[in-house]
């Protein structure tokens, strides 16, 4: 506004009509801008449409508090505390408006006492303990009442006339055993509500266990700096081992995954020669053209899916009939190349022939044949587990696998026999009973 006025002054233009005529647009602009107080107009103009990136400090005083209504006077007033029974009158400042409701002292609600049971002479007959005279038990219960079951303080202040020196555990054990017996005496165990039963269970104090725990805590407390540092080192080591183990497990899992990938079973023999390679190339080139591909695979009998025929999965295409046909063709040629091994040599190199093998790489341990079938198979597993024989062999060589299979079948047979025996015995018993019954009748 001042700038506008300045310009008018400089140009010597006067007249209110023009000024008011000009005012509306500028006013409009201002409402759009909404320039905050702490920032100059020029700077604000530079900001453009975007909001300022930093908070703008406003040099403003704190707003005057707006009091609701009239100030409320305070009065110096007598009060009594219901937590006291002597009626001591103290005085404090109080709001005049609160006068009426000040009957109950607001801090008296903090006067909370622990609930300590007390026993009659008759009841004490049940609570008797040769180690604890009646007077000392009373003394203990008074202290419990006085110090609200802070057993550490009770032990600290415990000073019974020529009594034994007692540990915190002794005191706790006596207190809880008395409470427990008392509770059982008043409500028999079978009449207790679930809450009461739970509370009853909580009162069971195991002195030995508690003492042992404290001893352990004391040992832990009395560690030397060397022991502390050693322990820290061991903990770090443990952490490292655990992490390594995790990594190893992950790696192993990864390896298993790789091993279990569907693999080509066809041999690469067809592609070993230059002729084979040329064939492969032709196949890969032709795979771009569907028709050609169809032709090329037509000679191999049943053709694979078109999707499998990409150049990248050329090896996967091996298992298609096309290559199988090729391997069949070259089989006699291959057999010539294979040297026949003697039985000894076969044993030495660990070469063996399997009757039926499914596709893929497998561990021998997973290939243990189950000779026993049906319900006995499970029982065999159970029996082996009872005998602490592992389900999977740690060293599954061909020999051990064989032995293991034998063992399994032997166990299976034995179990079957036992079952049979039991059956027969049972029958025998039944028959005998029938026989006896028949005798008695006669």
């Amino acid at each position: 506004m001042s700038g506008f006025q300045d310009v008018r002054d400089v140009m010597d233009i006067s007249g209110p009509s023009e000024c008011t005529a000009r005012a509306p647009p500028s006013k409009k602009q201002k409402t759009v801008e909404k320039r905050p107080d702490g920032i100059t107009r020029e700077l604000f103009a530079l900001l453009g449409e975007n909001p300022p990136p930093v908070a703008i400090v406003e040099n403003k005083f704190k707003e005057k508090p707006r009091w609701m209504g009239k100030a409320n006077p305070w009065v110096w007033k007598d009060f009594t505390n219901p937590a006291r029974n002597d009626g001591l009158v103290l005085r404090h400042w109080e709001r005049k408006s609160e006068e009426s409701q000040a009957l109950d002292y607001r801090f008296s609600k903090f006067n909370v006492k622990a609930d300590i049971p007390s026993y009659s002479d008759g009841e004490y007959e049940v609570l008797k303990d040769p180690d604890w005279p009646r007077e000392e038990t009373d003394y203990l219960f008074n202290l419990c009442r006085e110090y609200d079951l802070r057993f550490i303080i009770i032990w600290d202040r415990y000073d019974f006339l020529d009594g034994k020196t007692r540990s915190v555990e002794d005191l706790k054990a006596r207190y809880y055993s008395v409470c427990r017996s008392l509770m059982e005496l008043r409500t028999p165990l079978n009449q207790m509500s679930p809450e009461e039963t739970q509370f009853f269970g909580m009162l069971d104090f195991d002195k030995e266990r508690e003492s042992a725990r404290k001893k352990m805590a004391a040992v832990l407390f009395a560690r030397t700096p060397a022991e502390v540092s050693e322990e820290e080192m061991l903990l770090a080591e443990l952490k490292r081992i655990v992490m390594n183990q995790q990594r190893t497990l992950e790696e192993r899992k990864d390896l298993f995954n790789r091993l279990e990938m569907p693999n080509s079973t066809g041999s690469i023999a067809p592609y070993t020669g230059s002729q084979g390679l040329a064939h492969l190339r032709e196949m890969m080139v032709s795979s771009s053209d569907k028709n050609k591909k169809r032709k090329s695979i037509a000679m191999g009998g049943n053709g694979p899916d078109g999707a499998q025929q990409g150049p990248a999965v050329a090896s996967a295409a091996d298992k298609s009939g096309n290559t199988a046909a090729a391997s069949q063709k070259e089989a006699p040629q291959l057999k010539k190349q294979v040297r026949k091994l003697t039985d000894d040599e076969e044993k030495e190199y660990g070469v063996m022939y399997h009757e039926k093998l499914s596709q893929g790489v497998k561990f021998r341990s997973t290939m243990v044949a189950t000779n026993v079938k049906g319900g006995t198979a499970q029982k065999v597993q159970l029996a082996l587990a009872q005998l602490e024989i592992a389900q999977k062999l740690t060293m599954p060589t061909a020999k051990t696998i064989k032995k293991y299979e034998q063992l399994q079948s032997a166990v299976g047979i034995l179990l079957d026999t036992r079952k049979l025996l039991e059956k027969v015995e049972q029958e025998l018993r039944v028959l005998k009973a029938q026989q006896e019954a028949a005798k008695e009748e006669t």
Partner: protein, 444 residues
């Protein structure tokens, strides 16, 4: 538009969750060996702090009795024949004729003259015998005529001042260093230990050291004017001359000298922060301190001045290692049987339940004016950490020297201004019914 924080209006009371205070204008009195502190509960510093030492002239009072001079202004004034005495011994009241007068003076001089209108909370050391406690309640009800009274342990109060209900309070007072383990606001009596190695002991050590190396100790009242001199050069000062029979008494001179010693403790004496004990020979100590800043000068009231190097550590070492204390004066504690601070802590922790030890060591509170010695907290921290390597040790010492000096009072002030505390007061009615023995039952 700036969004204003909603301020609490004066129309609504603060919620009880945030604010548990209910001030009943109680008076808190913390009588110590050196100072008596009094003030209204709920305030953060005692309004009235007067020395426990008082001056008295026998036969100058009414009817030929003794005339007493109480309070900072009176006790330091130069009067012929005025003896300086202290009613306390070993941290507890020994002279029951005078102590109540001092207490009353501490309250009436600045707080109020109407004792019967204000409940009174007093503090006591943990070793206060029950006879003394009963005497206290008698004095308070019979003599002061207060409406209600409570006797709290200094250790507990100091813990409260640091916001701790459980912890180990190390209080370095004038007469004693006392260690008080507290749990849930109650003192663990079996763990309370103390040694007479407080501020008075330190003053005696410094005095003995000065005597041993021929440093003349002067007091401010003796010097009229002085001019600067080189270090170790005889003082160039004009001393006050006294006519025969007008001289101040020995106890007055000693009292004034103690003020100079206090100044020495405040600005020159220092605690060896280790590692380990202070090396026994001056040479070892000097070599061990090569890295630390050099000496500190101290000027006596008559202008005599000296730069203190290793000596400023040696005078304080007796607190931690009593065998190395100076024994060239009378009534010194036995160097061999007295327990040093670290032994005290050890002794104190011995009888604490194992479950509490960890918690207590995590809340070590250092208080008392003596603990303001330069390096004291560091040394205590190092000693505890060395003695208990396993648990985590946390030492808390108020950085504010006022809070450190008046922690006992401050805790009492907090306690007596709590709404939930007001049921614990021993009222006059209860006192009349049960007699002085009620203090044993109620103030545990």
């Amino acid at each position: 538009m700036s969004s204003l924080q909603p301020t609490l209006s004066s129309n609504q009371a603060p919620s009880t969750v945030e604010y548990g205070g209910d001030e009943i204008s109680a008076i808190v009195l913390d009588p110590g060996t050196a100072w008596i502190r009094a003030g209204f509960a709920g305030e953060d510093t005692p309004k009235s702090v007067i020395p426990a030492d008082y001056g008295c002239i026998e036969g100058a009072g009414e009817n030929g009795g003794r005339k007493m001079f109480i309070g900072d202004n009176d006790v330091h004034a130069l009067r012929p024949g005025m003896e300086i005495r202290n009613p306390m011994n070993d941290g507890i009241v020994a002279d029951w004729d005078t102590a109540p007068l001092l207490w009353r003076a501490a309250i009436t001089s600045r707080l109020t003259t109407e004792l019967s209108e204000h409940p009174l909370l007093m503090t006591e050391p943990s070793w206060n015998p029950s006879k003394n406690r009963e005497r206290t309640i008698e004095v308070v009800f019979e003599d002061f005529d207060v409406p209600a009274f409570y006797l709290a342990k200094t250790g507990v109060c100091a813990g409260f001042a640091s916001g701790k209900a459980t912890g180990l309070v190390i209080d370095v007072g004038a007469s004693n260093i006392s260690i008080t383990p507290i749990h849930d606001g109650l003192v663990l009596k079996k763990g309370c230990t103390r040694s007479p190695l407080g501020g008075t002991f330190l003053s005696d050590q410094i005095r003995a050291y000065f005597a041993a190396v021929n440093i003349p100790l002067s007091a401010h009242y003796q010097v009229l004017s002085k001019s600067p001199v080189e270090a170790w050069k005889p003082a160039d000062a004009v001393y006050r001359a006294f006519a025969p029979g007008e001289e101040p008494t020995d106890s007055y001179r000693r009292f004034q000298e103690d003020r100079v010693l206090t100044e020495f403790k405040e600005c020159t004496a220092q605690v060896w922060t280790g590692p380990g004990l202070l090396p026994s020979t001056a040479q070892d100590a000097a070599s061990a301190m090569l890295s630390s800043p050099g000496g500190r000068p101290f000027e006596f009231p008559d202008g005599f001045n000296v730069v203190f190097n290793t000596e400023r550590f040696r005078v304080t070492e007796g607190i931690f290692h009593p065998p190395s204390m100076l024994t060239s004066y009378q009534h010194h504690p036995d160097p061999n049987s007295t327990l040093g601070l670290n032994q005290l802590i050890h002794q104190s922790m011995k009888d604490v339940d194992i479950e509490l030890k960890q918690l207590i060591l995590n809340n070590v509170v250092i208080t008392g004016a003596g603990s303001l010695l330069y390096g004291f907290t560091d040394r205590v921290n190092a000693e505890i950490a060395a003695a208990f390597p396993g648990p985590r040790v946390r030492v808390m010492a108020a950085g504010n020297s006022v809070e450190r000096r008046y922690a006992g009072w401050l805790g009492g002030s907090i306690l007596a201004s709590l709404g939930a505390f007001h049921q614990l007061w021993i009222s006059r009615k209860e006192y009349d019914e049960h007699g002085p023995n009620i203090v044993e039952k109620r103030c545990k």
